[in-house]
């Protein structure tokens, strides 16, 4: 730009606007995300939870453009017939990294990928695997057909370039209630529901590991966008009776005992009671979101955020059924 041009531009606008334009111009070459584009790589750190079994922990965060959606726990099984995965992660890119990591750990190809439920952080990595190995319940597969595009669209928007190459998975293998052996491992499959319309739970008999999918959250607030709370509660009751050695929640630490099941129950009870109470006292959604949670939830990651979402999920149902019908006169 010549000084003449700059001078004539300057004369037309005041100094403040010039500064604003200058700042805008200075930031133009920095396309958002471009700096990270070359280095978008999921850091997968598998932790041994039993002999020949590794879990990759998800971050206790919402899905963001920073974490690429890697917030759910993913588990890798070494079996005598190949590698088995429980859930596939949030994107095609994650799925590719997971496949490489799994093969590196076990030295065997991935022969089966079980998907627990249709939420993006668990299923979208499945496109990295041969569709014949991707196993899911009938309802999950049907749900992916109807709303899969909405799910990927939402993820592209929130997580950006992490999603490159991600499409809707089409599980090629249908599973139902029963026991499936893969080499020396034996998976008891239980299609339950409550967190979503179908939550496939798995119990691996040789290790005593229980995988309840997102029916169990531990030290991370449960999400309720597709929840049916009463069904969820009955599913948790059934999980309590299995007698597992270790519980691998969809989100949160792997532990022996039932703390995850109990904490998820308590969370559901707490938010349901608080939302019901606020509704009875006449509060609308934005008011109810501002009501503080009880102290016991202090140690739970993203509690306030998930509670606010749950208010939006659960209030409309109360209004549709519990506000009294009025007289027309």
């Amino acid at each position: 730009m010549t000084s003449t041009t700059a001078g004539s531009l300057m004369s037309g606008i005041n100094r403040r606007e010039w500064l604003a334009l200058g700042l805008a111009a200075a930031t133009l070459p920095v396309i958002p995300g471009a700096a990270e584009a070359a280095v978008l790589k999921y850091a997968l750190n598998p932790v041994v939870i039993a002999p020949g079994v590794w879990t990759i922990y998800g971050l206790p965060e919402p899905i963001t453009a920073k974490n690429g959606g890697a917030i759910a726990n993913i588990t890798i099984f070494d079996t005598s017939e190949g590698t088995v995965l429980i859930d596939a992660g949030p994107s095609h890119r994650y799925g590719e990294a997971l496949k490489a990591k799994a093969v590196e750990l076990t030295g065997k190809p991935v022969v089966r990928v079980y998907l627990t439920h249709y939420h993006t952080d668990h299923v979208l990595g499945a496109t990295a695997f041969d569709s014949g190995t991707v196993s899911a319940g009938k309802t999950l597969t049907a749900d992916l057909k109807t709303i899969g595009n909405d799910l990927t669209n939402a993820m592209y928007r929130v997580a950006g370039d992490w999603m490159r190459g991600t499409d809707v998975p089409q599980p090629g293998r249908e599973v139902s209630e029963g026991v499936e052996a893969v080499g020396n491992r034996s998976f008891r499959l239980m299609p339950l529901a409550g967190h979503t319309s179908e939550d496939l739970c798995l119990y691996e008999e040789s290790t005593g590991l229980l995988f309840p999918g997102d029916l169990v959250f531990l030290d991370r607030a449960a999400t309720t966008p597709d929840a049916k709370i009463d069904t969820w509660r009955s599913s948790l009751e059934r999980l309590k009776g299995i007698g597992h050695k270790l519980l691998v929640p969809g989100h949160g630490p792997v532990e022996p005992g039932a703390r995850g099941i109990e904490q998820t129950q308590r969370w559901l009870d707490t938010i349901e009671a608080q939302i019901g109470d606020g509704f009875e006292r006449g509060l609308d959604i934005t008011e109810l979101m501002a009501v503080p949670l009880p102290d016991w939830t202090n140690g739970i990651a993203v509690a306030k955020y998930e509670y606010a979402r749950s208010v939006m999920h659960l209030m409309p149902g109360l209004e549709a059924t519990r506000l009294p019908q009025t007289d027309r006169a």
């Binding site: 006449g282 008011e287 009501v291 009025t326």
Partner: protein
């Protein structure tokens, strides 16, 4: 006429305020929209007019929005203006004998400033916030077309509470599809007016709704308790001439009525 952004009065902000006449939300639409809806009167940006939004947009077809201008005292009129929206004026309210407060839900087409303008005499006081959202709440047919319960269209569920400040609170949900006419083969069909009155029909609050309001309009209002009775009446009319009415009894005062109030 645009005058400087005014925060709650304190010397430091007063000095800063003199340096800007800019829309605090920096919206490309504001010049046009403020001319269209607020022209002929003074316009002041003022934090006493609050727009309260959820921390995340869960559902673009049902975004809960609270407008609270009670810090101004009584106002003549409230307009909600949503800059980037096919129906930029979703709701207008005259709080005749009601607090300048309304909670409602609306469809959102994309991320946008959401503002409320509260008028006292010849001055509009404007507050607002930016709502982040994905696209399509107005124009994309839902994956599952909502089943309309035609037999019960216009049915009103409602409940009133006696507030600790001596006023009333009424929450209502009207069964109505609120079709905005933007989805192929579904003509516009929506509630245009909704009035809350006392038993004799004297208005407490008058609202104009629009195509932008979410299906099954769900509202919270804070009317005064009528002198002549213990009921509130609601009367709504849609653009097909459908009239919908309800009588809502006001109960005795209950404990804990201050808790959780904004």
């Amino acid at each position: 006429m645009m005058v400087p952004f005014r925060k709650s009065p304190s010397p430091a902000t007063a000095v800063a305020a003199e340096t800007t006449t800019r829309d605090p939300l920096d919206s490309p639409m504001w010049n046009d929209l403020s001319k269209r809806y607020l022209s002929g009167r003074t316009v002041v940006f003022d934090d006493r007019v609050q727009v309260i939004l959820p921390p995340v947009t869960e559902n673009q077809t049902q975004v809960p929005i609270t407008i609270d201008a009670r810090a101004l005292g009584q106002v003549d009129e409230i307009l909600v203006i949503v800059d980037l929206h096919p129906f930029p004026q979703p709701l207008r309210m005259e709080p005749i004998a009601a607090q300048p407060f309304v909670v409602y839900r609306q469809k959102i087409e994309q991320g946008t400033p959401v503002r409320a303008a509260a008028r006292q005499g010849d001055t509009w006081y404007v507050g607002g916030r930016y709502l982040d959202a994905a696209g399509g709440g107005c124009s994309v047919p839902p994956a599952v077309i909502a089943k309309i319960d035609w037999e019960h269209v216009g049915e009103i569920r409602a409940r009133a509470w006696r507030e600790a400040d001596g006023g009333a609170r009424v929450r209502m949900r009207l069964l109505h599809p609120m079709d905005n006419g933007m989805i192929a083969n579904i003509p516009a069909f929506f509630i245009e007016t909704l009035n809350v009155t006392d038993a004799s029909g004297a208005p407490l609050a008058k609202l104009q709704l629009s195509e932008a309001i979410a299906a099954n309009p769900t509202l919270t209002l804070l009317p005064e308790i009528p002198k002549d009775g213990q009921v509130l009446k609601v009367a709504a009319r849609d653009n097909n001439g459908g009239d919908f009415k309800a009588t809502v009894p006001i109960p005795a005062a209950a404990p804990r009525m201050r808790e959780g109030r904004l």
